[in-house]
Symmetry: C2
Subunit: 173 residues, 2 copies
Amino acid sequence: MATAQLTPTSYIVLGLVETAGDATPYELARRLAGGIGNLWPVPRSQVYAESERLAGSGHLELTQERAGRRRRTYSLTSRGSAALDLWRRVRARALPDLRDPGLLQLYFGAEAKGLASGRLAQHRARLSDYEELLERGEAEGRPGPMLALRAAVLHERASIEFWSELAAEGEPS
Amino acid sequence: MATAQLTPTSYIVLGLVETAGDATPYELARRLAGGIGNLWPVPRSQVYAESERLAGSGHLELTQERAGRRRRTYSLTSRGSAALDLWRRVRARALPDLRDPGLLQLYFGAEAKGLASGRLAQHRARLSDYEELLERGEAEGRPGPMLALRAAVLHERASIEFWSELAAEGEPS
DNA sequence: TTCGCCATGTAATAGGTTACATGATTGC
DNA sequence: GCAATCATGTAACCTATTACATGGCGAA
């Protein structure tokens, strides 16, 4: 029941359990992949590890099958629920980091035109994924996911704007 | 001289050594903080660790003072230089992840208005930092840093657009 | 009934974060 | 010559990444 610091990964797992109800880590990971995992990837093995930690700290409760696959099912405890609520209300201090491998290359002198056109294609592809999700209304019933998706779209557009300017710069007209 | 996989952190260190010429990890960290560290933070202790690894793999060469502080100075080997050049030319596969703590809260149901106005202020502050850097022409003599900064500005604007729409939504008119 | 894929879990290793520790320098 | 601050390094701990391993189940 040691109260260690909760990380973003912790809140992702807690949030997933909250919306899923009781679930196995596998199930959580599946939901992750279709949703917030696009914006904040967490590898499956981490979902296992984090669930276990959260059970250790009393934020989740574990029920394990006795027979067969001995599946682990986690559910939110009142402690976990309270932690999640509090987190939702506290103003996050950290801003996102860009951490774009392509920008890194650009920063350190990669040839701009070729880099830009490659990145442009990648971002366009991702943008259309996101736009399709938006249309299909992958809202999961809650407003949060849709809003986050809108944000993701805006960032893709920003990337596209950037790289396409760069690709066009000094272009023969 | 084991050839382990190089990570983004590796290339950051290699790139810094390249532009700095021979340097101690401390000096590298200082340059980081004023430059690419804004977009891709690497803690100082990692700069030490990574330099050591890179020396172990033959990408950097270590010279250590015999007397006094026994400072460690690293310089780029031809192997390191080749690795950097290759990296600049190979098309990066991974797109950036958003990983915005605020978006995470939004995704998992935080109250939108309050969150948005807080985030808005934070992004505006960062935007003006970036704009100031742009004006001061913190170019470090190379074009890469300025271009990366432009990208950062566009992303800040995207964030600001997102959060300000959200803050305004349903606002009494 | 066997092949292949989905479901489920775990282990090993590397990488990152935080905090601590102490040696030089410089302004007063 | 002392206090404050910069320079420099390290250790402990936690997290994440990658790869492996195997059980069930459905289709052919």
